[in-house]
């Protein structure tokens, strides 16, 4: 702000910040406040007539008491998907950054290519891939990997697979950006200083790619925890995540206060975990 004032003068600085400030107030601050007040309102009301703000803390206890399995499942699925994304994404990002040569650009375009079609359509096609009489299930059965009555669709595997697939690009891009910045000479210097290939990875490449690892895991884990499309399309009632519950509470049950309370719980949990994680990874300067 001070530097903006120096460059543009006092009034111009306010004018420049104005649009963004109004935008944030309208579409972030205001909904946020509305969410908080609704979460503390009496559930006796309804969406048409509105809810009375009675500072009803019980909403939170009830939401937590009734829906904790959904929260837990969300964290578990998102966690597994994030780890899978990290492993798959790291290998690919490493290959693109150091081994792709002139194919680099092509490979990067391929990584983002899925974004050219809708998230929904892509998830629906996974439904076909994992279908009970689809080629994948048939093949796995033929190979005795899946039992005769086994299925993939409507299992946790399908949900986690869907999450992994959908969020993989969000992992690859920050990883690539970090890896690409590493001077290959550092790898050679480490080799010259008696580091075996594994030690070179552990002592040089991995630590230098940490900003990408942290960025990628956050970009994957946060939206994956709140996701409901994958569980909705690929899962079953037994694999529902917290997003599905919040959606159901808002739409089918019209129970806005409990839905809001559950949303706030999810948000607080994620913020707390992110802060802890970032501190642990020693990359505070990212925030």
């Amino acid at each position: 702000m001070a530097s903006l004032q120096r460059v543009f003068g006092k009034n111009a600085a306010y004018l420049l910040i104005g649009p963004a400030a109004i935008w944030l107030a309208l579409f972030f601050l205001f909904p946020m406040l509305s969410l908080l007040t609704t979460s503390l309102s009496d559930p006796a009301g309804n969406p048409i007539t509105g809810y009375d703000l009675t500072w009803r803390i019980q909403n939170y206890l009830e939401a937590l008491g009734d829906y904790w399995p959904y929260l837990l499942r969300s964290l578990l699925y998102a966690g597994i998907a994030t780890v899978l994304c990290l492993v798959l994404g790291y290998v690919l990002a490493y290959a693109i950054a150091f081994k792709a040569g002139r194919w680099k650009t092509v490979m990067l375009v391929l990584v983002i290519a899925p974004f050219f079609t809708s998230f929904l359509v892509r998830t629906l096609s996974w439904k076909l891939i994992l279908a009970d009489n689809g080629w994948l299930v048939e093949t796995l059965k033929a190979l005795w990997i899946l039992p005769e009555d086994g299925r993939l669709l409507a299992t946790p595997i399908a949900v986690v697979a869907g999450l992994t697939y959908n969020f993989l690009p969000f992992m690859i891009l920050p990883l690539y950006t970090s890896l690409e910045k590493i001077d290959p000479k550092l790898n050679e210097a480490a080799a010259d200083l008696y580091a075996s290939p594994f030690q070179r990875f552990a002592k040089v490449i991995w630590p230098l790619s940490l900003p990408g690892v942290v960025g990628g895991t956050l970009l994957t884990f946060i939206p994956a925890t709140g996701d409901y499309i994958n569980a909705e399309l690929l899962g079953s009632p037994n694999t529902q995540m917290v997003g599905n519950k919040i959606q159901a509470l808002f739409t089918t049950a019209s129970d806005y206060p409990h839905a809001s309370a559950l949303s706030v719980i999810l948000m607080v949990m994620i913020v707390a975990m992110v802060l802890y994680y970032v501190r642990k990874a020693g990359t505070e300067d990212l925030l």
Binding site: K185, L186, E188, D192, L193, Y194, A195, L208
Partner: protein, 382 residues
């Protein structure tokens, strides 16, 4: 410890050849023996294959043909991390996420040394980095980073230390200071240093032995004194200092043993060149003489050199440079020669442009090169 780590002795490159996948041959059948404990300089213009040679010794590039030995051990196909060789990289390649102390102890740690503290302390003292131990590379100046790169390699006490233009990124003053510093450190630790540079002055002041490299080959190898006073090719004559090269026709040999000389006709004047300084068999050659060996005297006054002199030269340019003056002389046959003269005060001033002068030199300083070589080879294009 693998056998390669016990390797001990001279570094020997035999028929070392490198052809890159794109078809470019950067190093052509190099043969070289670098004695243990020597300060060896590999000198050559940019792109002549110096870095490629070092990378093959370090194991970072695979030779197309040839072998690399240290003492009796062939390390040609040894993994880089198993060679008793360390490198100071051209742009240092310090680990940005580690402190100076961690950078320095990287090598010993990987080799399983448990307590590196005393080693680190010692090497940081040697390179005057004790104060910087806890800093990150980005917080250091260029000269300090250079010393970290050196300390990080030296701490391993390699059989051979490879330095790839280690001073190239420093400004002139710091470079001169670091040259002395490197020399001192080498003498103190007694390891074999292979120092790559394109700066002839740097190579000459620092190294015991200099190999002049050109287009993937060694042109000549010897002490700085030998190379400078008795170059074998026009490339060496021009790249190492400057030379006047004058066409001459070989008349024949006279005398024997140390006194054997080759008589050469140089535009009508017969000059004698010691047989040991003649590097051609053909009937024509380039007579070479270093500019500071060229003596001039205004026509009519006696010349301070034995033997004959050339009359009829004219001073066309005089550049005063403080300690010395550079004269350009037009010889009767039209060629321009360069003459450096110390400003001893003997003349009481400069020789004015346009003065008719007699030109001479002591015959023992001349050398004769092959006339098929390009007289401009090794001159910096600028």
């Amino acid at each position: 410890m693998s056998p390669a780590e016990q390797a001990h002795g001279d570094l020997k490159l035999s028929g070392l050849h490198k052809r890159y996948p794109n078809g470019f041959t950067a190093v052509k059948s190099l043969d070289l023996v670098i004695p243990q404990g020597s300060f060896f300089a590999l000198l050559g213009p940019s792109g002549c294959g110096k870095t490629t040679t070092l990378r093959m010794v370090a194991g970072l590039e695979t030779p197309t043909a040839g072998t690399i030995e240290i003492g009796a051990n062939d390390i040609t196909h040894e993994k880089p991390y198993k060679r008793p060789v360390n490198t100071v990289f051209q742009n240092y390649a310090l680990f940005p996420h580690l402190t100076i102390a961690e950078n320095v102890e990287f090598g010993p740690k990987r080799r399983g040394v448990k307590d590196t503290r005393s080693q680190v302390k010692e090497i940081l003292e040697l390179t005057e980095l004790t104060e910087q131990a806890a800093k990150k590379p980005a917080q250091l100046s260029g000269g300090q980073q250079q010393r970290v790169a050196l300390a990080r390699a030296l701490i391993n006490r390699p059989e051979v230390l490879l330095l790839d233009e280690p001073l190239g990124a420093l400004d002139l003053k710091l470079r001169r200071a670091m040259q002395m510093e490197l020399k001192r450190i080498q003498e103190e630790v007694g390891l074999t240093f292979v120092h790559v540079t394109h700066d002839q002055e740097e190579a000459m002041t620092m190294a015991d032995t200099v190999a002049v490299m050109n287009e993937g080959r060694i042109e000549q190898l010897g002490t700085p004194y030998d190379l400078y006073t008795n170059p074998r090719t026009t490339f060496v004559a021009n790249f190492l200092g400057r030379s006047n090269l004058v066409k001459g026709t070989v008349l024949g040999r006279e005398g024997s043993g140390d006194d054997e000389v080759v008589k050469v006709d140089m535009h009508g004047t017969v000059v004698s060149i010691k047989a040991g300084r003649v590097h051609t068999d053909s009937s024509e050659g380039w007579i070479g003489i270093r500019p500071e060996k060229v003596l001039i005297q205004p026509a009519g006054t006696p010349v301070d050199a034995p033997g004959g002199y050339f009359a009829g030269a004219v001073v066309t340019e005089a550049s005063y440079m403080g300690t010395s003056t550079e004269y350009r002389l037009r010889m009767p046959w039209g060629q321009e020669l360069i003459c450096f003269e110390q400003n001893t005060g003997r003349r009481g001033g400069l020789v004015p442009v346009g003065t008719q002068v007699d030109v001479s030199w002591r015959p023992e300083f001349a050398f004769l090169l092959d006339s098929s070589q390009d007289a401009e080879a090794g001159l910096e294009e600028d």
